[in-house]
């Protein structure tokens, strides 16, 4: 396996993980806020649905995605017709699979941060003339930031390692959906692929350690920035 091929795989993996993470942030903030702060009918169901990927076998999650977004399903057809987006067996699908798998991790992390925020601060902001929306953006959201950053790092690392849902929903197509983990799996399936697998495993380990370091650094930076009162 030459350097070009390896870097291709690494770049594709990083791109998919980054897009999945970025795509998760806003829904995760919204869901975390809903689940932590609001009481509404169906809250428990929503909670279960968001967290399902944590407990379901990833292959099952991939299968469910196929059932939802497959080209013959209503949602899949609608996506192709209105947005021209075809998810199954594309890079977009790999992003989607990674995002769905990473979402609960991010929601949990953000929710934990949100529950740690003193609601009295929000009340104080209201007495100072801030509307609910203003209070959310000027007080709640900035204070959620450490949780969001921690959640994003976690989601990114999880996305890099995503396998089951991706291979089921997006398949294993070179240069499109063949991420690091899928490439390692493929290399092990081919005769004489041992050497390539070894290289890819080393890179995978390096990225994981990098993500851990990043988590540590970002944690320290946000904690410093946000000195607890």
């Amino acid at each position: 396996m030459d350097v070009d091929a390896v870097s291709q795989i690494v770049l594709l993996s990083l791109r998919i993980a980054a897009l999945a993470t970025a795509g998760c942030v806003i829904p995760a903030v919204g869901l975390a806020w809903l689940l932590a702060r609001r009481r509404f009918p169906g809250r428990t169901l929503l909670d279960a649905l968001v967290h399902a990927p944590l407990v379901l076998p990833p292959v099952v999650v991939g299968y469910c995605l196929l059932g939802l977004f497959g080209s013959r399903t209503w949602l899949g057809e609608w996506l192709v017709r209105t947005l021209g987006v075809h998810l199954p067996f594309t890079t977009g699908g790999a992003v989607m699979a990674a995002a769905v798998m990473a979402l609960p991790l991010m929601v949990r992390s953000i929710r934990l941060g949100l529950e740690g925020i003193d609601r009295g601060l929000e009340t104080a902001a209201r007495t100072l003339g801030a509307s609910r929306l203003d209070t959310f953006f000027s007080i709640t959201l900035p204070l959620m930031l450490p949780g969001i950053v921690a959640g994003a790092v976690l989601a990114f690392a999880a996305s890099l390692g995503e396998f089951g849902a991706t291979i089921t929903f997006a398949a294993n197509i070179p240069d499109e959906t063949r991420t690091l983990t899928l490439a390692i799996y493929t290399a092990l399936q081919t005769p004489d692929g041992e050497a390539s697998a070894k290289v890819l495993v080393m890179i995978s380990m390096g990225l994981a350690i990098g993500a851990l370091l990043l988590a540590e650094v970002s944690n320290r930076v946000t904690k410093n920035w946000l000195r607890a009162q």
Binding site: L121, A125, T127, L128, G129, S131, R227, Q229
Partner: protein, 367 residues
């Protein structure tokens, strides 16, 4: 005028308020914990939305349940100082201070800004973060932040409760200064009468969710009928005094009041300062004739106005001297022995050491 006619029920606690407060000066909202003090100002601020009835501040209707009207918190223009300061931890002090000001129509006023910064000595704190401030400093910032949002009324909920004694004195000093510089009506919630003695003009007395009394502070605080709500060991009288002179040799200050003079441990305030002295009933003794060879120098000539018998072995003797009224708490036994009765001319004896900076008005600057 602040019109309050509302009720709040929360579980098995209910608060029933019907009172009219002046829209000026400092109104002390006093009561034991659980009396409903915080519930009252939270309803006024709009933080708790369970109040039913009418709340009006000046011409502005905050709440009118009959007409289905409720003004949201952010439009009531109440400056609220919480017990725990509640500074925004992700903003520097300067940004904290400007938070409210930026959100009021008309934007910020540089005169008000400079004035508040000066009165509360906030300049050295502006670049710092809330996490690095002491409790007293935080509370000063919280007061400044509330004031800078140009409120039509200031609310303080036990602002000194989480501070140690020297910090309490310090913050009280700032509140006194602020009261002179900015005549914003202030509702001050506390369970400490000592704090109110320093600053209150009016009193709203709460007990078990009901208003027991509402009126001028000095009248109410000496009202025997209300003593049970003020607590036996708080019982006493408050005298309005003027600081006449300092006695450097013995480290004393001389205060004059209608009816006599008091010598107290030296106060750190200039001559001419008006201040209040609180005399606890148990610190006042009674003599029929001027006793010779006694250490007590504070001797006030007066006449017994009333005797009220309390639970246990005590009698509360109300003594009139000039326009002032003094309470003396003595035993029934002493009362009978000296045959103290209404109309009798007596001398009230007050130990100077009973009057320290904690009970005498204008707080010394604690630095």
């Amino acid at each position: 005028m602040i019109e309050l006619a509302f009720s709040v029920s929360q579980g098995d606690f209910s608060l029933e308020v019907a009172a009219v407060l002046p829209k000026s000066g400092v109104t002390g909202v006093f009561g034991r914990s659980g009396a409903g003090k915080s519930t009252l100002i939270n309803a006024l601020a709009g933080i708790s939305t369970t109040a039913r009835g009418l709340i009006k501040v000046g011409d502005e209707v905050f709440l009118d349940t009959e007409r289905g009207w409720q003004l949201p918190v952010e439009r009531r223009r109440v400056g609220y100082v919480f017990q725990d300061a509640r500074l925004f931890p992700h903003m520097r002090i300067e940004t904290n201070l400007r938070y409210g000001a930026r959100r009021r129509s008309g934007g910020e006023s540089s005169d008000l800004w400079q004035g508040v910064i000066d009165v509360l000595d906030l300049q050295p704190l502006l670049r710092r973060w809330p996490g690095s401030l002491s409790g007293g400093e935080r509370q000063r910032v919280a007061i400044g932040r509330a004031l800078l949002s140009r409120p039509q009324i200031l609310l303080m909920d036990e602002p000194l409760a989480s501070l140690d004694a020297p910090r309490k004195t310090e913050i009280l000093y700032y509140i006194e200064r602020l009261r002179e510089a900015y005549p914003v009506p202030l509702l001050y919630v506390t369970h400490s009468l000592d704090e109110l003695v320093r600053i209150a003009d009016h009193l709203l007395l709460l007990s078990d969710g009901k208003v027991m009394a509402c009126g001028p502070f000095l009248d109410l605080v000496g009202d025997t009928a209300l003593q049970p709500y003020l607590g036996r060991f708080e019982a006493g009288s408050v005298l309005e005094c003027v600081l006449e002179q300092h006695d450097e040799t013995f480290g004393l200050s001389v205060l004059s009041f209608s009816g006599g003079e008091l010598r107290v441990p030296k106060l750190d305030a200039p001559c001419g300062t008006r201040l209040r002295a609180r005399l606890r009933g148990r610190d006042v003794a009674i003599a029929l004739k001027d006793p010779p060879e006694l250490s007590i120098t504070n001797r006030v000539q007066g006449e017994v106005l009333a005797l009220s018998y309390r639970d246990g072995p005590y009698v509360d003797v109300l003594i009139g001297a000039g326009n002032s009224k003094l309470h003396a708490l003595i035993t029934r036994e002493s009362c009978a022995r000296l045959n103290i009765r209404v109309g009798l001319s007596v001398i009230a004896l007050i130990k100077a050491v009973a009057l320290d900076s904690r009970t005498v008005g204008y707080s010394r600057r604690a630095r």
